[in-house]
Symmetry: C2
Subunit: 246 residues, 2 copies
Amino acid sequence: MSADPEWRTVRRVRTHEQVLIQIQERILNGQLRIGDRLPSERELVQVLGVSRNSVREALRVLEAMGIIDAHTGSGRDAGSTVAGRSTDALSNLLRLHMALAQFRLGDLVDVRIELERLAVRQASAEADPAELTQLRSLTEAMTRPGLDHERFHELDSEFHIRLARASHNALAADLMQALRDAVKNEMLAAFARVHDWDAAVASLTAEHLAILTAVEAGQGDEAETLVARHIRAFYDSVGGESPSSD
Amino acid sequence: MSADPEWRTVRRVRTHEQVLIQIQERILNGQLRIGDRLPSERELVQVLGVSRNSVREALRVLEAMGIIDAHTGSGRDAGSTVAGRSTDALSNLLRLHMALAQFRLGDLVDVRIELERLAVRQASAEADPAELTQLRSLTEAMTRPGLDHERFHELDSEFHIRLARASHNALAADLMQALRDAVKNEMLAAFARVHDWDAAVASLTAEHLAILTAVEAGQGDEAETLVARHIRAFYDSVGGESPSSD
DNA sequence: TTCCTCTATGTGGTAGGACCATAGGGCTGG
DNA sequence: CCAGCCCTATGGTCCTACCACATAGAGGAA
């Protein structure tokens, strides 16, 4: 009596999910674009025939996904507008699932390496001078002596993310940034395990410089090799085998 | 009077965000693990000193992120439990941001190729016999004549996703699945543009078989080359240059 | 005793109302 | 003309009530 195809279990769809679905449909079929304003919460209550609670739950979810922004007040910015802030939402999502051990750190490193390779390869072909100039000044900033872990990580992240942006592949760049955000704490912990910090900084910075030089010269293959080695080397040296807790 | 370091603009943190933060903290530092039950909504109201609305908005966000599941009733499943359903949330997020044109289809294809390469390379080294058997039966299912677009896409997706799972890199597999979900409609549209459907199915299936054979033989490099060509060829043949609307 | 049924209780789900904080717009008085 | 005030629309929060659901336990029937 279980496999009877005549009967299908009813799927209970909560109200706020139905609201969510209707808004998502309008985004997916292009009726709602970035910058558009949604009706006010109270208007949605009227047109959808649901409570304001349900409307708000749907809007809060969309906001957490970076799909909409909400502002109080009247005129212009007020109300909910379609946004498109993908990066933060992606980071948050990955970080939490990382914490839930859905993903191993090693897995993430492997994925990151592939993304970095894609990034430098395409950056070698597509980066424009302004972007390269910014990258170069970043590598210089990293040579400044006395950088602490936090600050160095910041510059390091910015270098890799800007490199990804320079590839003009927005998805790769967003994913890269999200992955880096998601493992920031692990990275800082790894920094803390480094024996000779100054030497590590020097060699990492030198590697950055070499990668950037290859990108500037349009040598995509060389840049790929260098960036893969750059990441793998660091991870192998301090990444540790302990996959887990505390 | 604007750059005075003594004064910093206050950051308004809405209450439901504070609830969100507290729960996220407990996940990030390991206090909450998959399977754990959260206090009931009414209990959280008490201990946090906020309204049930705010609690619910936070929980709905977490649920949409695949972090928790919620069930009514009493005992066992009832209440909110920590879950870890990363895939659906990731797909949804990417699909919406794709629709908002945050990402170009070409960008996504490039990323997908890198992930597929990683997947087949590691699957060549790590896949176990059971997984390979399943993959092979999938390729056989795809040779069945008369498959419509929808059904073929389903099998095609399952092949690639199972291949990724066989690499034992959960992050890569999840991302792959999310990317495929996000562009399902574009894929079906591409199928509709194919002139000789039967011939296309035949060649795609043959390519799958070749990839799988390379993976079974542990020839990672060969599999990488084949899978990259497989995706690129299809996209170039029917992907079209039109990046956009309607 | 055993089994069934009904009830109590605890859970999330929904609704509606009230009020607050904010940010423009418009009016009013100087 | 302008400064200041009030009005209004928006999201933000809280509260209360009630519904739907699922289990556990009490109580009755065989």
